[in-house]
């Protein structure tokens, strides 16, 4: 199961890389969103996928699932949600200001 998830992470990262390398700003934003999903999946897999029961004291189960990666991912998802939202708004503002969504036209230091 872990292997499949890791392969999925690989696919997500390659798609995200392809999107990041394109000239269109919106594709770049989508690329960053996909990239963060990939790393969240990786975090989950690194902690080990579900094997035992829930980690609650008093139940005395034989094995239990490590709950920490899920807490980490929850935090990371919230952060990446905020960053993506901000980035989208910024890209929209930049589009309004510069009338272009092509990254090549945004390069250079003196484009005032």
């Amino acid at each position: 199961m872990e292997t499949i998830i890791i392969l999925l992470v690989g696919v997500l990262v390659s798609v995200a890389t392809y999107l990041l390398l394109s000239k269109n700003v919106i594709r770049v934003v989508l690329g960053t969103a996909l990239l963060s999903h990939a790393v969240h999946l990786l975090l989950l897999t690194m902690g080990g996928l579900k094997r035992g029961s829930v980690p609650i004291l008093g139940d005395q189960p034989e094995t239990y699932t490590d709950a920490l990666p899920q807490a980490l991912i929850l935090t990371a998802i919230v952060i990446s949600f905020a960053v993506t939202a901000f980035f989208l708004v910024l890209v929209f503002r930049t589009y309004q200001q510069t009338n272009t969504d092509n990254l090549h036209e945004l390069k250079g230091a003196d484009n005032e």
């Binding site: 700003v25 960053t32 990786l42 690194m46 952060i79 980035f87 910024l90 890209v91």
Partner: protein, 494 residues
């Protein structure tokens, strides 16, 4: 008692949120934020003295004992940086209060400045790798907003690049966290250090350490500084001063922490790489500082050179060099704030950004001119100003470690710093007066006050090194002897 450790992070957040409700009253915004940071500064000085007398302090959130809960650990290194960062943010806030940029003030300039310092202080204090990531993100999100606040075209274009590069580096940071959790099963830094020491840092962990090196280099501007000059040049003065003083320093702090506490077993690999990266950074930064005529660009490349210089101290990796690097880090936090405030004031007063367009400013602004001269001497490491002890100790340390190339490049880069800034001084402040007295824009006392205080501080820090030296040697001692940190940061040996 240890609960006091949370204040350097929580006070700016509470004050920042509180100020959101006073949008219409500019004076509450201005003075409220300054009061909050002054409180933070006094608290952090108090913690610093307590740490020196009673040893390293620790706060377990929610009584979850380490390594299970999130902890804040205050050693002398972290507290010195928290104090310096809080001090410089008071002065930047003061400058912002007198610069009266009403449009930005209306859109929550001060709350975001406070949130930025909260993130910075949190990053210095935290004893947990994932919490470090969270504090980085708090700081970065505030910096994204500050970067683009105002919505000028130049800011937006640079903002897109800045945010993209930081999203990528945060992604790499999470990747590193995932791998290290997968291999070692913990994220508490002291616990990690123990487990790495038990394993003897096999090649797998060294590879992960290089991943962290890349992440923190992106934040600090070590070799990977390509994003820095453009974005720092697009900011209003007070914000750019705060960015230059704090943001790269957080990356430098993280590098020092990870490569003295966690990955110190293979210095032949990791610290050699850091050494070459420092050399490349100093050379690249020097070329940049000399190549441009835009004074904002020159100042930004000076930030890059200083990062290379501090990391040279880490690369040499002995007590002397680390001590020198800590001196230099403190000096750099203050003096980079000072440099960017001065550069911003020059641009405000003249309206020009290239140094060959104006001359004779010393007649118009005599006090400001001499303060700028002191800034240059301090940045160049001339005694008695605060840059000197750091430079001499890093130099001695790297020669003692046999890193002659590193020492030579470090001192050559100081010459480049001095040359690039003296050039500004010679052509802008000396020579024929180009602005007539009746046309000159007045630099008010309020604008000059923070610059004057910082100038006095850099002179005072240089002359009063004896006051600072017990703190710095304690900090360097803890960095070089990780077991001191581990003993205090974990309850019992695991």
């Amino acid at each position: 008692m240890n609960n006091i450790l949370v204040f350097p992070m929580i006070l700016p957040i509470v004050a920042g949120v509180g100020l959101l409700f006073f949008r219409t009253s500019r004076s509450i915004q201005r003075w409220g934020s300054i009061a909050a940071m002054t409180a933070v500064f006094s608290i952090s000085l108090f913690i610093l003295t307590t740490v020196l007398s009673d040893g390293i302090m620790r706060l377990d959130f929610g009584e979850w004992l380490p390594p299970f809960g999130i902890t804040f650990v205050a050693d002398a290194f972290a507290m010195l940086l928290v104090s310096a960062a809080s001090l410089v943010s008071i002065l930047c806030l003061l400058y912002a209060a007198f610069a009266r940029d009403e449009q930005r003030e209306h859109f929550f300039l001060y709350p975001f400045l406070l949130l930025l310092t909260a993130g910075v202080n949190g990053s210095f204090l935290t004893g947990d790798l994932f919490n470090l990531f969270v504090c980085f993100e708090v700081m970065l999100l505030a910096s994204y907003v500050l970067m683009t606040l105002g919505g000028e075209r130049r800011q937006l274009v640079e903002g897109v690049k800045y945010i993209l590069i930081n999203i990528l580096s945060s992604w790499l940071f999470l990747l590193g966290i995932a791998y290290i959790y997968g291999t070692l099963g913990t994220l508490n830094m002291a616990h990690l250090s123990l487990r790495i020491a038990e394993a003897g840092q096999p090649p797998l962990l060294t590879t992960i350490s290089i991943l962290f090196l890349v992440v923190f280099s992106l934040k600090a501007g070590l070799v990977l500084y390509f994003w820095l000059p453009g974005s720092y040049g697009a900011l209003p003065t007070a914000v750019s001063a705060l960015f230059a003083a704090l943001l790269t320093k957080v990356g430098v702090y993280a590098l020092f922490r990870t490569f003295t506490l966690l990955f110190y077993h293979e210095p032949n690999i990791t610290h050699t790489i850091i050494g070459w990266m420092a050399v490349a950074t100093m050379i690249g930064g020097s070329i940049g500082a000399i190549a441009y005529k835009d004074i904002r660009k020159i100042a930004s490349y000076n930030v890059v050179i200083a990062v290379g210089f501090m990391l040279a101290g880490l690369a040499a990796f002995n007590l002397e060099a680390i001590e020198g690097a800590i001196y230099y880090l403190l000096h750099d936090i203050l003096v980079k704030g000072l440099l960017f405030l001065s550069i911003g004031s020059i641009i405000y007063a003249t309206g020009k950004t290239r140094f060959d367009e104006v001359s004779g400013l010393i007649v118009n602004y005599p006090l400001f001119g001499w303060m700028f001269f002191v800034t240059i001497l301090s940045l160049g490491g001339i005694p008695p100003f605060s840059g000197f002890p750091g430079k001499i100790l890093i130099g001695q340390g790297s020669i003692a470690a046999g890193e002659y190339v590193l020492a030579a490049v470090a001192f050559a880069s100081s010459l480049a710093v001095l040359y690039s800034l003296i050039r500004i001084f010679l052509s802008m402040f000396w020579g024929e007066m180009s602005i007539r007295r009746k046309d000159q824009v007045p630099l008010t006392k309020g604008r000059l006050a923070p610059i004057l205080i910082l100038t006095l501080l850099t002179a005072g820090l240089g002359l009063g090194m004896n006051l600072l030296s017990p703190y710095v040697s304690e900090a360097a001692n803890v960095l070089m002897n990780p077991e001191l940190y581990i003993n205090k940061a974990l309850n019992k040996p695991f």
